[in-house]
């Protein structure tokens, strides 16, 4: 892990943010991320992010659950311990549908949430660099990654001319680490890397 240099522009209105995102991208800058207080619909497309495949993962977890239920119950009731329940068939599929359904939902939900946390690197005690404290309150914070050719003054002026209320340059760690939010420790080396 190492630090990178970023230019940060803060906006207070989605209506200003969208054209700004478009202009910054057309100008050839690389948007590291836009931090928003709520899900702004269409922003992912404006930034050129691809669709998430999380729902596909959910489907796979779901059918894993169904398969687990049907294979486990049929093995138990026909092979491991065939119990005579009122003379009914050992392979009683209709009676297993409730449990098959419940396990489908359980596996899909638990699997998806864990995958979501893994992909977004979310867990208790995880800490990340926050470019602006109001990004979870009322500001839309656009963060642009600098290359060795980036003129930060020009970029800041460019962001301001596109409606940014506040701009700044920050050198920051872009990964995550284990830390406490009431303390400012940074357990990583101070080496800074610059994208080509």
């Amino acid at each position: 892990m190492a630090k990178k240099k970023f230019v940060v522009g803060c906006f207070d209105d989605e209506a200003v943010l969208f054209p700004a995102v478009k202009k910054v991208r057309t100008a050839g800058y690389k948007i590291h991320d836009v931090y928003t207080p709520f899900a702004v619909h269409g922003l992912d497309h404006a930034m050129g992010l691809r669709e998430t495949s999380l729902h596909t993962a959910g489907f796979i977890y779901g059918i894993t659950g169904t398969t687990t239920a049907v294979s486990a119950i049929s093995w138990i009731f026909t092979k491991d311990w065939p119990l005579n329940i009122g003379g009914k068939p050992h392979f009683a599929l209709p009676a297993w549908i409730p449990i098959m359904f419940e396990l489908t939902v359980l596996f899909a939900a638990v699997g998806m949430v864990l995958t979501f946390c893994y992909l977004c690197q979310l867990a208790p005690f995880v800490k990340k660099h926050h470019f602006h404290a109001r990004a979870t309150d009322d500001l839309f914070v656009m963060v642009i990654e600098c290359t060795d050719k980036t003129n930060t003054d020009d970029l800041q002026a460019f962001l301001s001319s596109n409606g940014a209320l506040e701009t700044k340059v920050e050198v920051a760690e872009d990964g995550w680490w284990l830390g406490r939010y009431d303390k400012d420790e940074m357990p990583f080396e101070e080496k800074q890397i610059v994208a080509a």
Partner: protein, 480 residues
Amino acid sequence: MHLKYESQLREPLVYGDKTYKQVTEDIVRPIEAKPTKLWYVGFYIAVALLMFGVYSVYREVTYGIGQWNLNKTVGWGWDITNFVWWVGIGHAGTLISAILLLFRQGWRTGVNRAAEAMTIFAVMCAGQFPIFHMGRVWMAFFVLPYPNSRGPLWVNFNSPLLWDVFAISTYFTVSLLFWYSGLIPDFATVRDRAFTKLRKRLYGIASFGWTGSTKHWQRHESLSLVLAGLSTPLVLSVHTIVSFDFATSVIPGWHTTIFPPYFVAGAIFSGFAMVQTLMIMVRKVFAMEDYVTIGHIEAMNKVIVLTGSIVGIAYLTELFMGWYSQNKYEGYTFWYSRAYLFSPYGWSYWGMMACNVLSPQIFWFRKMRRNIFVTFFMSIIVNIGMWFERFVIIVTSLYRDYLPSSWSVYYSPTIWEIGFYAGTFGLFFTCFFLFAKYFPVIAIAEIKYVLKTTGEGYKNQMTKIEDQKLEEFVHEHAHH
């Protein structure tokens, strides 16, 4: 830019001319302020009830199930009544957060967080009853299917009681995940504006390091939508399976095919009533009338009158079938044990009818739907009625079975049975008071998302758009 337009004819979901910052401030205020005296009083009453419940359960565990007045004939009494009652209440949260999300009902945003919390606490309360009803509660893990040294003796996968184990535990887990994944961004909001070290640290842990990245929001949206899609059939399945506990038996009054829809409607009915009870208190105590508006309360009252009427039709259908089947046991159960006012439990049937079917009909009147006091009073009446419903179903079907010599004497609970029930109220309200103090009771991020379409201040600006000519409108809003 995406067009945000909603007709002026729709009531705003957020009153006042609010900014995003204002929304954060309003909702986070109770977390940052010291709790009021009223909060302490309520909290201590809840804890006291919980302690009484713990003692009642201690009696039951120590001296056995004989501490309750159950007998051979009435084998299910208050315990299973309370179980079904709490599980039913636990249905509104997921209904509001999942089904109303899929139906694109904007008003869910004001109440979904608290309703989901209520769901989780209600299911926690519900779970206590079947577990302690087992008697030897230290053997409770026997209900889990795992390879064991008793054979291995597996559980009966064909039994509705086991389906219940799976349904309730899945429901609890999925509701908890759904609730918590929605809470993560809001915890981050509290964390980032925290001014005390402890709060920063604890909300830092609880927020899982959430930053608000666009990619994360995109995944979050996808996750919420799929969890909603999964929870929708789940919430229907849970009470369906609870109804199977009864419907698959051969007890008159229980083995009817209308039980699943009838139970689900009843669950939504009582769940919404509990949401009303809680939200009316929360909006008053925390001054959140701008977010949980009269419009929200009216919408929930519409659901109450609808589901209450569905339940009423189910009662009448049962009575009709009791006669039409010409089965003397069915006829006896429905027309003597239940509907005959002067039979031993006739009072409970007519109490149920009055509370669940007759009184909610006042919500056909708009004035009543929008009256806070009427709504609060009715929300409690409905939950009393729904408790009677479960009591009627369980006890009136059991106390006089096929063989008159085994008919039971009049079943009434002991103090420890009542104590256990009171204890779950204690548990529920202890959790709810803590939730109301330490958690954002309204989904902050979701309110911000709908603010510019449904906020009063923004809606007023829509007049401009409504007066525009088509060409002007297209010119301004078409994608360039």
